[in-house]
């Protein structure tokens, strides 16, 4: 299960906090999210240290950008926590 097909199948979606969220829980979807989020966190931490920011600040920024770039038809989480299709 790769990220692209997981998104197109509506299993996972982007969240404002910069991390991948599980929309339709399946063992593979949760496993993929855990793996992707761990890698994103490491990347955010590197950027934060490089830019004197905190992890959450960088993650929030990344979340915003990811939601903007999400292709229509895939899921995003609204600020109040609802999953909606873009």
């Amino acid at each position: 299960l790769d990220l692209g097909s997981a998104k197109s199948q509506g299993l996972v979606g982007e969240q404002p906090d910069g991390y991948l969220g599980v929309v339709q829980p399946t063992p593979d979807a949760v496993g993929l999210a855990a793996d992707i989020n761990a890698k994103r966190r490491a990347a955010y931490e590197a950027i934060a240290q490089k830019n004197g920011a905190t992890l959450d600040q960088v993650a929030a920024l990344a979340g915003q950008k990811a939601i903007e770039k999400t292709p229509p038809g895939t899921y995003i989480k609204t600020p109040n926590g609802q999953w909606v299709k873009k």
């Binding site: 829980p25 949760v30 855990a34 989020n37 931490e45 240290q49 830019n51 004197g52 992890l55």
Partner: protein, 873 residues
């Protein structure tokens, strides 16, 4: 030939008379016989007189009859009969008078039949009035002698049991003697039976019997010679078993009195006739002893035995009761409908249209059993329809339903294998325990002195949204009333999802046999879980040991990947209604980056120790202490190192309260500039934090506050003192700084500490002593000076100032923009201590300044541009 003729002529008359003599004798005999009621059907001569059919009438009733009676000798009279029958003749004379005088004779009857007795071969010789009779039937034989002159008789014989009924074994030796005179028949009889038994049954018994006859009344006493073991530790006691008495007409009273004793107590059966009539009687079966009680009234007659309604206490707390009389036909084969109710503690078995039938020793029961009642706090109902005989049970599977506050399960027990010695069954069960569906197969059997079997159960944990199938594979056994799940019993929970958390497989295995009893489970279990995965965190595998002792429990769990260890003890609440528990918990966990996946901070080093007490009563409560030592973490670019502290935690349904024990210390906090040796005490409910005795060293000076609350709208004053202006200036981080400051300042900074940002209002800083300012020549500065005379004058003036009055008003908005209005009064020592007043306003975003100072990447730091927005005025 002639001489014979002469003889005949001379004595002719005598010869004729002599020849006629037998005829005459015969004639007399015939007359006598006729007079005695003997009727003869047909007469013939077949080397002796032969009566093919004869009868004897006595007062109108045939008292004897027979066929082929041949008289083959006259002196002594020799009679041979093929058969003779003595039918019961109601009008026969009651008197049994002794035989009259008769000439000597020999009588042999091939088959004498008397009602109720098998045909007997009888030979009677009578000489000088001494009767000598011999009777034989198959292997049994008896002889009797009657001396008419003295009236004495004696008899002895041997009766083979097999002659009475084929399956009977053993023999009875009988001896007797007495007197037989007119109107007086008396005597005594003894019988001794050895090795009596029944084919196929191992028991062998001995019987002693005495009978006495006097004045037309007879009495019989029969008793077991020695106690007869009947198995199961039970035996029939010797003593007066059977007493009967009666007259020549028949039995007048019958009294059976058997006593059986065994480990559980004793059973006494007493049957006797009612009044004179032998056809009916009553009696009782009395049970007594440690585990037996109760008396069963009995009615019996020739056809049947009736057990009147009664209740009987049996071993192991069983109570048998039958509301309606039980009628058992007294026949070798028969059947009877019986209804009974068996009670065991609070359980009751009822028979429904049940029928007992038997064929000699083979018995069988047919019908329906219904179970109702309570056991172990659970309600039990069950039913079974089928057939039971010595070989065991057969019929449809029994169904049993167990209902309790938490358990509701129905079992289907096939009965095919429910027979000695193994009594095994494979019961299918399904139902629900609390809200878990349970189903599976419970096998059971009896072997090597104990009940044992295997439980193969399946369930599904309801709180798993997907997966989470639970399987139980557990060998069990029962020993001396205690139940055990054998070591190796295993519960496995398959991988599954709870909402968006993936729980990997888990298993709990019994390391020792688990004793299960009313007081709970006792034993040790191994726990192994492969961990869990959340979208933002991960839990590595967990292994541990759980020791359970009834209401007490102790667990030790370790997470090898994190070298962490959790121990927990638990004690269940004493009373069963209020489910609750309490206990202790300890946690030791070296802190590491791998634990920080889900956190905003990344833990680098440190050790976490916690211990506390917990209670659970409808919700969790915890009180404990948690200590962190040697903590180093980074919060993005902010680095905190060597944090230490301990706190007391209180957790309940309203939330958490945290109270530091002694000061929380942090050696160093790199926010762009170093904050050192911070210490404070903390009190928080994780949403509002109260800090007291706050102290930290920053910019060469000290920052302190008596108490601070975060978040808060209030402006709370933080005192700063002894700040080194040189270090403040160094914040600009200018590789070739143009300004050089020296001196210490202090003051009060009213801060608004909000959730995500910080504001300062009317902060006031002033110098704590002499301050000096120098502007260092630099390209930038000198070029500015040449372009503007006034600037050059200012620069010259400010080139070196000895400041005696330095104060600043500081305001910072939550976005970080700081406005500082600094008033400096001093003298320029190089310009003849020219008095100078510098009004300096500084506007900068401090948060971004600090962020820029935290940039770890050297290149990026240098590439950062900074431009002073407005010139000098």
């Amino acid at each position: 030939m002639g001489s014979r003729l002469a003889f005949v002529r001379r004595y002719g008359r005598w010869l004729i008379a002599l020849a006629l003599l037998p005829l005459l004798g015969l004639l007399i005999a015939v007359v006598l016989a006729y007079e005695q009621g003997i009727r003869v059907e047909s007469l013939g001569w077949h080397d002796g007189l032969e009566l093919t059919q004869w009868q004897r009438l006595q007062s109108g009733c045939v008292s004897a009859m027979g066929s082929r009676l041949r008289i083959t000798g006259w002196y002594p009279l020799t009679i041979a009969m093929t058969d003779m029958h003595l039918p019961k003749c109601p009008t026969a004379p009651k008197e049994l008078s002794p035989p009259p005088w008769t000439p000597p004779f020999d009588l042999s009857i091939a088959a004498l039949t008397v009602p109720g007795l098998p045909p007997i071969a009888v030979v009677i010789h009578q000489r000088e009035q001494r009767w000598h009779a011999q009777a034989r039937h198959r292997h049994s034989q008896a002889t009797a002698v009657y001396d008419r002159p003295s009236g004495r008789w004696s008899a002895q014989g041997q009766l083979q049991a097999a002659d009475i009924a084929p399956q009977l074994l053993g023999a009875l030796n009988v001896t007797g003697k007495g007197g037989w005179l007119p109107h007086r028949l008396e005597g005594a009889l003894q019988a001794e039976g050895q090795q009596l038994g029944y084919a196929g049954q191992p028991q062998r018994g001995s019987v002693r019997l005495e009978a006495a006859l006097a004045a037309k009344q007879w009495r019989v006493n029969a008793a077991l010679g020695a106690p007869l073991a009947v198995g199961g530790g039970w035996r029939l006691e010797a003593g007066h078993a059977l007493r009967a008495s009666g007259s020549l007409d028949g039995v007048q009273s019958l009294n059976l009195n058997m006593l059986a004793t065994g480990p559980q107590g004793n059973v006494r059966l007493a049957l006797n006739t009612e009044g004179g009539n032998v056809a009916r009687g009553q009696g009782s079966l009395a049970l007594a002893g440690a585990e037996l009680a109760g008396t069963v009234p009995i009615r019996w007659n020739r056809q049947e035995l009736t057990l009147l309604p009664a209740a009987v206490q049996l071993p192991a707390g069983l109570r048998l009761r039958w509301p309606r009389p039980l009628v058992l036909p007294l026949a070798l084969a028969g059947s009877s409908s019986i209804s009974a109710e068996l009670q065991y503690q609070e359980l009751r078995f009822d028979t429904v249209d049940s029928r007992l039938s038997w064929q000699q020793a083979r018995w069988s029961w047919q019908g329906r059993l219904e179970l109702a009642g309570r056991a172990g706090g659970h309600e039990l109902t069950g039913t079974w329809q089928g057939h039971i005989d010595a070989a065991g049970l057969s019929g449809d599977p029994a169904s049993l339903t167990i209902k309790g506050p938490e358990l509701m399960v129905t079992l289907r027990l096939p009965v095919a294998d429910l027979h000695p010695p193994r009594w095994s069954t494979q019961a299918q069960f399904n139902g629900r325990y609390r809200h878990f569906p349970v189903s599976g197969v419970l096998s059971a059997g009896y072997a090597a002195g104990r009940w044992a079997g295997v439980v193969d159960g399946r369930s599904k944990l309801p709180f798993y949204t997907q997966g989470g199938e639970l399987a139980v594979a557990s060998p069990w056994y029962g020993k001396e009333g205690q139940w055990f799940l054998d070591s190796g019993s295993r519960i496995t929970i398959a991988k599954g999802l709870i909402a968006t958390t993936l729980l990997k497989p888990m298993s709990v295995t019994a390391a020792t046999p688990l004793r299960i009893g009313p007081k709970g489970v006792f034993g040790t279990l191994q726990i192994s879980a492969d961990g869990a995965v959340g979208s933002r965190w991960i839990l590595p595998n967990v292994a541990g040991q759980l020791t359970v002792a009834g209401r007490q429990g102790k667990a030790r769990l370790s997470l090898p990947a994190w070298q962490s260890e959790l121990t927990m003890t638990a004690t269940m609440a004493r009373s069963s209604q209020r489910t609750g528990a309490q206990g202790t918990v300890t946690l030791t966990a070296p802190l590491s980056a791998t634990m920080s996946r889900g956190l905003g901070v990344t833990l680098q080093k440190g050790m976490l120790n916690g211990q506390g007490r917990w209670q659970w009563q409808d919700h969790w409560r915890l009180q404990g202490d948690i200590a962190v030592s040697g903590l180093t973490l980074n919060w993005g670019s902010v680095l905190a190192s060597d944090g230490n502290g301990a706190a007391h935690i209180e957790l309940d349904q309203n939330g958490v309260t945290l109270t530091s024990i002694g000061p929380i210390t942090l050696a160093e906090l790199g926010i762009g500039t170093q904050v050192r040796n911070a210490h404070m005490t903390v009190q928080s409910d994780l949403s509002t934090w109260h800090f007291t005795d706050v102290y930290a060293e920053v910019l060469g000076g000290i920052m302190s506050a008596a108490s601070l609350q975060w978040p808060s709208q209030q402006y709370q004053t933080v005192a700063v003192s002894h700040l080194d202006l040189a270090q403040v200036a160094a914040l600009q981080n200018d590789p070739n700084p143009t300004v050089q400051l020296a001196g210490r300042v202090g003051g009060n900074l009213p801060l608004q500490l909000m959730k995500d940002d910080l504001a300062l209002r009317d902060g006031f800083i002033s110098n704590e002593g002499p301050v000096s300012l120098k502007i260092l020549p630099s390209a930038g500065i000198s070029s500015m000076g040449q372009s503007n005379q006034a600037v050059q004058l200012a620069l010259d003036t400010l080139s070196n100032l000895a400041i005696h009055d330095f104060h600043a008003r500081l305001n910072m908005k939550p976005d970080g923009w700081l406005d500082a209005a600094v008033t400096i009064k001093g003298r320029n020592p190089q310009q003849n201590s020219l008095p100078v007043v510098l009004n300096y306003s500084h506007r900068e975003n401090v948060l971004e300044l600090l962020r820029s100072l935290r940039i770890g990447d050297e290149l990026a730091r240098r590439a950062m541009h900074r431009k002073p927005a407005e010139g000098l005025r």
